[in-house]
Symmetry: C2
Subunit: 334 residues, 2 copies
């Protein structure tokens, strides 16, 4: 069943059928109805490939994300997909893992599928070494690229992110009023990761203090492993009044550590998570977490993209404030 069959049954030319298919040119109401009736009755579905060939697009956007089973990235993907669909776009999902080579490979694979744009979901896509981001810059020569939670200055690259640095500086500064014994526990130095760390550092600097390297702990492991690592450090005599983390899972690990070490939360140890994800409220007391407004940013990323499609002038970067969700693992925060 193709456009010829329809045109024949309706007694018109294929051009007219195509016109009603695309709803653009003028077709008399009478023939439009007739054609629609024939389509209905035959259950005709236009061939999307032929359509794509003729129009040069299939209304598809590629979403790249390292790991869509990660709670935060899964949410991002979900919001993005939802928002794309509002605008009649389909989402081609591709989970890349964290290796740059692989990311570049998959990005090009999506490109070869002729997606209309690429959305890179996750701050891990922007590396500190600009060389490694080159593949993104090149991709942007083909289609618009939107980065969620990462910033990269290049033509046709748009970013939507949270000001992680500022909120981290703010929160750290608040704790610094009462104690220097703050541990910053972070997972990896993605774009956001670097911002957060910089925020912590800056708060110390602003207070005229030095942040000892021992108080910056990079650790990329499970909840259980996080608990272990902290216990080991604790056993070696390290003590903290506050543990700031770069994500809620690490905070849960810290929470478990506190319990294992017999430390009362928040009286003896305060804990702050990041992302304000669902996991933060599973513990008792529930974990204070920084809300980086993932949903808002995700939807904005898509909105920006649509404006780019429409040829509107769009700023290359949109940023929102981080805001703290105060719960039981902290006291005295504002």
């Amino acid at each position: 069943m193709n456009i010829y069959d329809i045109s024949e049954k309706a007694g018109v030319s294929i051009a007219t059928v195509s016109r009603v298919l695309n709803g653009n040119s003028r077709v008399s109401e009478k023939t439009r109805q007739k054609i629609l009736a024939v389509m209905e009755e035959t259950g005709y579905q236009p061939n999307a490939f032929a359509r794509g060939l003729g129009l040069g697009t299939m209304n598809t956007v590629g979403i790249l994300c390292a790991d869509s089973s990660d709670a935060v990235l899964a949410s991002a993907v979900y919001y993005i997909e939802q928002e794309l669909r509002k605008y009649q776009y389909d989402a081609l999902l591709c989970c890349t893992g964290y290796d740059t080579q692989v990311k570049a490979k998959y990005l090009n694979l999506l490109l070869s599928k002729r997606v209309d744009a690429l959305i890179l979901a996750g701050s891990n896509f922007v590396e500190a070494d600009q060389e490694k981001n080159q593949y993104i810059v090149e991709a942007a020569r083909e289609v618009p690229v939107v980065i969620l939670n990462g910033s990269l200055k290049a033509p046709n690259v748009y970013c939507a992110l949270c000001d992680d640095r500022e909120i981290m500086r703010n929160v750290t500064a608040q704790f610094l009023k009462t104690t220097d014994q703050i541990l910053y526990l972070f997972r990896s130095l993605t774009y956001s990761g670097r911002q957060k760390a910089a925020g912590v550092r800056q708060a110390f600097a602003d207070a005229g203090k030095e942040l000892p390297e021992r108080q910056m702990l990079q650790f990329n492991g499970s909840i259980e492993e996080t608990r272990q690592v902290l216990l080991e450090r604790f056993a070696q005599g390290e003590r903290w009044d506050v543990i700031l983390t770069s994500d809620d899972e690490l905070a849960v690990g810290a929470h478990k550590f506190a319990r294992a070490a017999g430390l009362a939360v928040p009286e003896e140890l305060q804990i702050v998570g990041y992302n304000n994800s669902r996991i933060a409220i599973c513990c008792e007391p529930e974990i204070t977490s920084i809300d980086n407004h993932l949903e808002y940013c995700s939807r904005s990323a898509v909105a920006m993209l649509m404006q780019v499609f429409d040829g509107e002038a769009v700023p290359s970067c949109m940023s929102v404030s981080g805001d703290i969700m105060i719960r039981g693992t902290t006291s005295g925060l504002v």
Copy 2:
């Protein structure tokens, strides 16, 4: 840059170029190398739409899922996408929400994009009312349909799932040896939901006991709301020795309830979750949960699909056992 440009620069016909593109027919090594060189040098990328039009496929599978931000579904989508990519298929993701009308609409939308198959991720796709599943049966006339965690008997529909009924019967039976005060807290009667409930019921029946309706509590809310609901019932005088749940989030709610009610876990109240998801290990004590082998099933679903593509004989349903992951919220389970 199209196939004509390449053929010209390489001094061959487009047919030969197409042949090296598809790597199938014999092309002399010399000309193959020459053509590859030209492609390399010009950065040629074949047009996927034209390819799709000629071949009738773009190697794309549609994944339908109600809500990819849900931890369990997100994992399923992740595993499926990973596995599809191994076989060079792309994943078109579509989040439908839980309304049947909407699901049907989106399913047809994916179909109109000419996907090679559909994977329905989540037991919510199979409803008790067969009428409501009709749209799936019809879709299967166009392309193979694979259902994850749901069973539907129809031509060209394949299922991969866990025997939820049996494991639920088994676990319930174990508790019934020592107490009848078991609450089964469940979210919704999806396909799996119905199986689980049936398992609980059967265990009671097998033990010659009756399961009072008060001990079946359907509740579809957040962790916090779950805690509330249980507290209310508790305040009204209801008492339980065991709370079985249909997912880990409900179990976390039960966990929080226990804490709020001052009940020691597992001494005074035992709790069992379902899905063995990451959230189960956030609490203290960690939650015993039933592992329904989501990863295995997800990957199997894709594997089955590939066999269908290859024209191999495939059973219409594959089932795995559920297995219990014993942790701190239970005692005496085997």
